[in-house]
């Protein structure tokens, strides 16, 4: 019988296990740092929106040109993209990701409502916006394509605001928003100029519904998270 150095087999096993544990710890640490970045961004945006709401309340009697354009910051757009990435890589069921996504959706709604209020007061400040309801749970084949269209329009028209809501979040505010526009559960669903549209809408169709896009330049958009590719498991309310 040939001699086997069992010690070496064991040492190699321990080293390999050590590599696995090290990689696990590093991965956890880095993922945690990413989530903290998302949380910090969320908090910053929340403060920005609260600040604008307060400004609006304080300047209720003031003329429109003194009201700053509501914030739909680049951070909000970046937050949406990063949330999509986190959802795909940390898991749609990750509790922290779900919480962040819900908070992000609420921030989008607040920003939308703020924009509507300012538009009511100041006729010339009505934003060009689209409400977009989607699902990335694998039950909406047209959603991914619609996401590409909206991303493309957003990059062409800076001031076009796209408010994208995942219908699987089971967030009451999203359900209420849907009921305000009398939407059923079909996805994708777009709300443009108060009218609802179901199924895939091409770029050309959307442009025809928003003639102002061609005449106005825009600034800042809310990112659509509907460009996430392969559907993960349904986002369930983890709370």
């Amino acid at each position: 019988m040939k001699n086997l150095s069992w010690q070496k087999y064991l040492i190699a096993f321990l080293i390999t296990a050590g590599i696995f544990v090290t990689a696990f710890l590093i991965s956890n640490k880095l993922n945690q740092a990413k989530l903290e970045t998302l949380q910090a961004t969320r908090d910053k945006i929340a403060i920005d929106i609260l600040s604008t709401e307060t400004q609006f309340a304080l300047l209720a009697e003031t003329s429109c040109h003194e009201i700053a354009t509501p914030v739909l910051s680049r951070e909000l757009s970046s937050l949406g993209r990063r949330l999509t990435y986190a959802e795909n890589n940390l898991g749609a069921d990750d509790k922290e990701v779900l919480r962040l996504k819900k908070y992000y959706s609420l921030l989008l709604i607040k920003d939308f409502l703020l924009g509507q209020k300012i538009a009511e007061k100041c006729d010339n400040k009505e934003p060009i916006s689209i409400l977009y309801f989607y699902s990335n749970a694998g039950d909406c084949p047209a959603c991914q394509k619609e996401g590409y269209v909206l991303d493309s329009l957003r990059s062409e028209h800076e001031k076009l605001r796209i408010y994208a809501f995942d219908t699987n979040l089971n967030l009451s505010a999203i359900n209420t928003l849907k009921s305000v526009y009398d939407l059923n559960n079909e996805v994708p669903a777009l709300v443009i100029n108060g009218e609802s549209y179901y199924d895939f809408q091409s770029r050309e169709k959307i442009r025809s519904l928003l003639p102002k896009l061609e005449t106005e330049t825009a600034s800042g958009t809310a990112t659509s998270t509907a460009t996430s590719t392969i559907a993960t498991s349904s986002s369930k309310d983890a709370e």
Partner: protein, 413 residues
């Protein structure tokens, strides 16, 4: 989803384990990397016969013979047998051109396969050592000295050299260059484990007593070099590696030629290991049965698995891109993406794959240091890292398919 993750991490664990094991073995003896300042000489010079089996090798035979005649070794102790195995070109004529040299003997026979040519040479010699050299290969001047020193120092029954690719020109040959340099490392690691599993055609040398005791070469699915090594290991014979004895071989120039060669090797390997399956995971046969033979099969599984994952990923990327083009047209689908550090993957799988790639690169660079005495990155390493996995994927599948159906066509090459 969980089942696929278990498979993924299990394969990664085993792959890393094997890499760690070989690296650990090698670096226990890292003094190997140091080149001795002075060339030492063996205490004695055993009589040696090198057999060159030939079949249609008119273009390369001369170089092979001349490299043997130029070996730094007493002429009286070295014989060269050229065995023409029914060549249909001018090989015999080229061989006969060397007959005037007292060291050279030329034999000719009807075509019967490489193993029959080798066996004819073995039958006709009485030297202490017998070796072989493929007719498309050649050796460095000090190769036989290094081999003989290994016989002396390690008390082995057979010695294999370090094989390098000769003058690579095409991309395919450059990939093989890095592959063979990696092989220099692996062969050394295997020899330190007493677990060499192939005695390759280019310049493997044996004590003649091995053939007297174990018998001649067998056809062995036209991979007689693999079968003989397994036969030696299964009977408790020792195979050493002279890592400073360099033999150079011509690698196939094109992918179809390389594919054909490797399918034969994979098929032969699987069939030979099947014949010697009693050695697998059998402690009686030491490290060759416990890790080296299983590692080769596991390497095939790993390659097939990860290349399949990459292919699946590419499929999804392509189908998403097609969807995007359908949605927004070609022009808007290929903008410059902006980099966000956030999207750099930090998953456990990614980090482990990075570890595995790092371990592979350590092996590749250490092999290069042993073969070329250089550490710096080179084009062949880059091409090897980028292309080898995909290339190996193709011949692994075909070789396994042939073995499964046991209908590999067994030809010279």
């Amino acid at each position: 989803m969980i089942f696929s993750e278990i498979i993924f991490y299990s394969i990664l664990f085993i792959a890393l384990y094997i890499q760690v094991f070989f690296l650990l073995t090698f670096f226990e003896h890292r003094e190997i990397l140091k080149r001795p300042k002075k060339q030492t000489r063996p205490k004695r010079y055993p009589s040696t016969t090198i057999i060159i089996p030939c079949w249609n090798e008119e273009n390369t035979l001369s170089r092979t013979v001349l490299s043997l005649l130029a070996l730094d070794y007493p002429k009286s102790k070295l014989r060269v047998f050229i065995v023409n195995d029914g060549s249909t070109d001018e090989t015999l004529k080229v061989a006969k051109g060397f007959e005037m040299n007292p060291q050279v003997s030329v034999f000719t026979k009807e075509n019967g396969g490489k193993h029959t040519a080798l066996n004819l040479g073995i039958e006709n010699t009485d030297t202490e050592l017998v070796g072989c050299l493929d007719a498309d290969s050649y050796v460095a001047e000090n190769a036989l000295l290094e081999v003989v020193k290994t016989f002396e120092n390690e008390g082995v029954d057979s010695v294999i050299p370090a094989i390098r690719i000769s003058h690579p020109k095409s991309i395919i040959q450059l990939v093989q260059k890095a592959e063979y340099n990696t092989g220099v490392f692996l062969r050394k690691a295997f020899s330190l484990l007493s677990a060499i599993q192939i005695t390759p055609g280019p310049f493997s040398i044996f004590k003649r007593s091995v053939f007297l005791e174990l018998g001649p070469y067998h056809r062995a699915h036209n991979t007689e070099d693999m079968e003989l090594a397994l036969r030696l290991q299964s009977h408790g014979y020792k195979i050493g590696n002279a890592h400073r004895a360099f033999a150079y071989t011509e690698g196939p120039r094109t992918f179809p030629a390389l594919f054909h060669q490797r399918v034969r090797w994979i098929y032969g390997y699987i069939m030979n290991v099947f014949d010697y399956r009693h050695m697998l995971f059998n402690r009686k046969y030491g490290n060759v049965g416990m890790i080296v033979l299983p590692a080769a099969f596991f390497g095939m599984i790993t390659t097939a698995y990860f290349i399949s994952l990459i292919a699946l990923g590419l499929f999804h990327v392509v189908s998403d891109k097609i969807l995007q083009i359908q949605a927004v047209g070609f022009g808007d689908s290929f903008g410059m993406p902006s980099f966000d550090w956030f999207t750099v993957s930090t998953s456990l799988g990614t980090l482990l794959i990075l570890f595995a790639i790092s371990a592979t690169l350590i092996i590749v660079f250490t092999g290069k240091k042993m073969a070329e005495n250089k550490w710096r990155p080179s084009l062949d390493i880059l091409l090897f890292v980028l292309l080898y996995g995909y290339m190996a994927f193709t011949w692994i599948f075909k070789g396994v398919y042939n073995a499964a159906l046991a209908r590999g066509k067994e030809t010279w090459r």
